[in-house]
């Protein structure tokens, strides 16, 4: 038996995997749906959104599929009433956290948060909306940062740090007050480190980061570049 290959069971199906793969990677390879928002292939996984939590036999806790390595004989359940309920609640929390108004958003129809809500049959949000006052930063010549649409997935932080290397974005503050910022919390247009490459815009799952000149429902993201760049960088190392 090849030590580098593991066999496990996901939702009753036997699948094989490389030893260094995560449950999420194997599931996606086999067209088994596990929702996620903070995960993006090509960026390091952080296990932050908690949408990809799955039940693993023998584990006392739910485990995040995006960071959990597969093990021989693992038995994973990706769908259950409990998991569906948790996933919907997490989405509801996101919708209630900031101001996500699809009808006037540049990413209407092209938004991962919106698509996921549809897919999980989310019909209403029963947590009280918080309506925080958040800014829109249009100082950059090419891009716009609308903090009302941000879900703090940190994909922008990771792509700028890991792929572009500029580390323009990071997170300030903590908890519900946390926000993504550029440099010393300056307007994006005044950033000294930003290279205007636009990678952050295209990895952003919502309309938080968009290209200037896009109107409602016009911001479709293009991220074909990401796996290619990741591969080139990994090979170069």
């Amino acid at each position: 038996m090849n030590a580098g290959i593991k066999t496990l069971r996901i939702d009753g199906r036997d699948v094989s995997a490389r030893a260094d793969q995560t449950i999420l990677q194997v599931a996606r390879e086999n067209d088994i749906f596990i929702p996620s928002l903070c995960y993006l292939e090509g960026l390091s996984p952080v296990g932050a959104c908690r949408l990809c939590l799955v039940e693993v036999k023998g584990a006392s806790r739910l485990l995040p599929a995006c960071v959990t390595r597969v093990e021989e004989g693992m038995e994973v359940t990706t769908r259950s009433e409990r998991l569906e309920a948790y996933r919907r609640m997490i989405l509801e929390l996101l919708f209630s956290e900031r101001n996500h108004i699809c009808s006037v958003c540049v990413s209407n129809g092209h938004c991962e948060l919106q698509s996921l809500a549809e897919r999980l049959n989310l019909t209403h949000v029963h947590f009280p909306y918080r309506y925080p006052r958040l800014p829109v930063d249009a100082s950059h010549p090419r891009f716009v940062a609308d903090h009302n649409r941000c879900i703090l997935c940190t994909r922008c932080v990771r792509v700028c740090d890991e792929i572009e290397g500029a580390h323009t974005w990071d997170v300030m503050g903590r908890g519900i007050e946390a926000r993504v910022i550029t440099d010393l919390n300056q307007p994006w247009g005044e950033s000294e480190s930003c290279t205007s490459c636009g990678k952050c815009v295209h990895v952003c799952p919502t309309g938080a980061l968009s290209e200037k000149g896009r109107s409602v429902a016009e911001m479709a993201k293009r991220r074909q570049f990401l796996p290619y760049l990741t591969m080139m960088r990994t090979q170069a190392r």
């Binding site: 990071d170 300030m172 903590r174 440099d183």
Partner: protein
């Protein structure tokens, strides 16, 4: 390309203290929190110039330094008032009257935690617990600890301290 050590934001000799702190740790990136502590202790707070200087000295991205400076509540980016009043809001202090102390501060000095009076004389902060629960409720005024305080006693203490400046 060789890295060049940046020049301090000003001629102030106290930057040598901050430099020493960073040098003691070999200018490694994990010296960041110690460096920020040094700046705050020396200058009272962290401003953009000092953040930039630390970032350049430790070869860290600006946003990473800003992210760390704002994550930890010990650090402040605003200049403190001449006097700092820290009300402990730990569990024991909460049960023994810390909320009433904060109410008095808002009533008499129009200060909420994190604010400084308009004339810059007094800042109000809260601490999660200073570890002197036997003396609850506890207030630290300019590094001096006072325990078992009533709102009236606290106000008296503050007035004495503020009057001393005049």
């Amino acid at each position: 390309m060789n890295w060049v050590r940046p020049t301090p934001p000003s001629e102030d000799k106290r930057w040598k203290i901050v430099d020493a702190a960073m040098r003691r740790m070999g200018y490694r990136r994990d010296a960041l929190i110690e460096a920020l502590h040094s700046v705050q202790e020396t200058f009272g707070y962290l401003d953009d110039d000092s953040l930039r200087y630390v970032a350049q000295s430790l070869r860290l991205p600006l946003s990473a330094v800003y992210g760390v400076a704002t994550f930890y509540h010990f650090f402040t980016l605003k200049p403190p008032g001449k006097h700092t009043c820290v009300v402990c809001t730990g569990t024991a202090c909460h049960i023994k009257g810390a909320p009433q102390l904060l109410e008095m501060m808002e009533r008499e000095y129009q200060l909420k935690p994190g604010e400084t009076t308009a004339d810059g004389r007094l800042s109000l902060l809260t601490a999660r617990c200073v570890g002197s629960c036997g003396l609850a409720p506890v207030v630290v005024l300019d590094r001096e600890l006072g325990g078992k305080l009533t709102p009236e006693q606290l106000r008296h203490w503050l007035e004495k301290r503020l009057a001393y400046d005049a």
